[in-house]
């Protein structure tokens, strides 16, 4: 995936939220990332640490919560959950390709600590 552009975009959003609410420093940023997004968390943390310099987030920690891929097979009806780091293509129970993915595509900021 595109960790550097994602890090840059999440910094933009966080810095905007921070100043919009009248604060000047960001201490933590919490994000949730679904496994099906293909985002590599190590690469995201690295890009974040490089890009945060000389911004209100320069001493901020990025806390990442990873969400497993969940879905339902449209053929056998079984629900499944996977921690594989990419989209589930085949039903682990019956092998069907006809899946409805219900979780794992999240890429959201959920909470920040500011002062």
């Amino acid at each position: 995936m595109h960790e550097a552009s994602i890090a840059s975009e999440l910094l933009n959003i966080a810095i905007n939220e921070c100043s919009k609410n009248g604060y000047s420093k960001i201490q933590t940023i919490k994000v949730i990332i679904g496994r099906a997004t293909g985002v590599m968390t190590d690469a995201l943390l690295f890009a974040f640490d490089v890009l945060k310099e000389n911004t209100p987030a320069e001493s901020a920690n990025l806390i990442i919560e990873e969400i497993p891929v969940r879905g339902v097979c449209k053929d056998c009806g079984k629900e499944f959950e996977s921690n594989e780091p990419y989209i589930v293509v085949v039903c682990p129970v019956c092998g069907s390709f006809s899946l409805e993915i219900t979780a794992g595509k999240e890429l959201n900021i959920t909470e920040m600590e500011v002062n």
Partner: protein, 214 residues
Amino acid sequence: MKLKVTTKILDANERIAEENKKMFKEAGVYVINLMSSPGAGKTSLLERTINAIKDKVKVGVIEGDITGTNDAERIDRLGVPVVQINTEGACHLDANMIADSAKELPLKDLDLLFIENVGNLVCPAEFKVGEDIKVMILSLTEGDDKPLKYPLMFQESSVLIINKIDLKDLLDVSVDKIRKDALSLNPKIKIFEVSCKTGQGIDEWTNWLLTNIS
């Protein structure tokens, strides 16, 4: 102090893509995001398609490449408006690049705009640019294992064009397997078999296209 936020991180691209879509709709232009691996035949398909339909509809093209103007020059020779984007290293087009380059096209005079994405079977499928539909090409020389290896692009595309069909008897590739796997991933995908070299199958594709944009 804790701040609760619920913002999608890729919101900016999606928002600009929506604005692009609105701008294209107001101008009355149908927009196709054309994607494939490098060398699958995106520009060749555009040449064949534009030659077949340019008397019936007004076509424009945005060419996306990492560097160079080779593709835009090929399109320019056909006498239709074209803008070249050089992404300077980025592996896909995003909505912002399209918003900028669309300003250089006479949108109000166009019926159909092709956006030829950067050759890449992965990343372009992840970024909306404001298109009506995504069309992808898979050429036979890439092999019949590609739908299951690169599922997202097959899932996101409305049309799959299988190019280089003239090589079918020379290659150990099963067109049936490509069809079966693509349809498993995306039961609604419309499939055309063409050869941009011989012209085989181009009529079926352009007839479908003309029916769908009118």
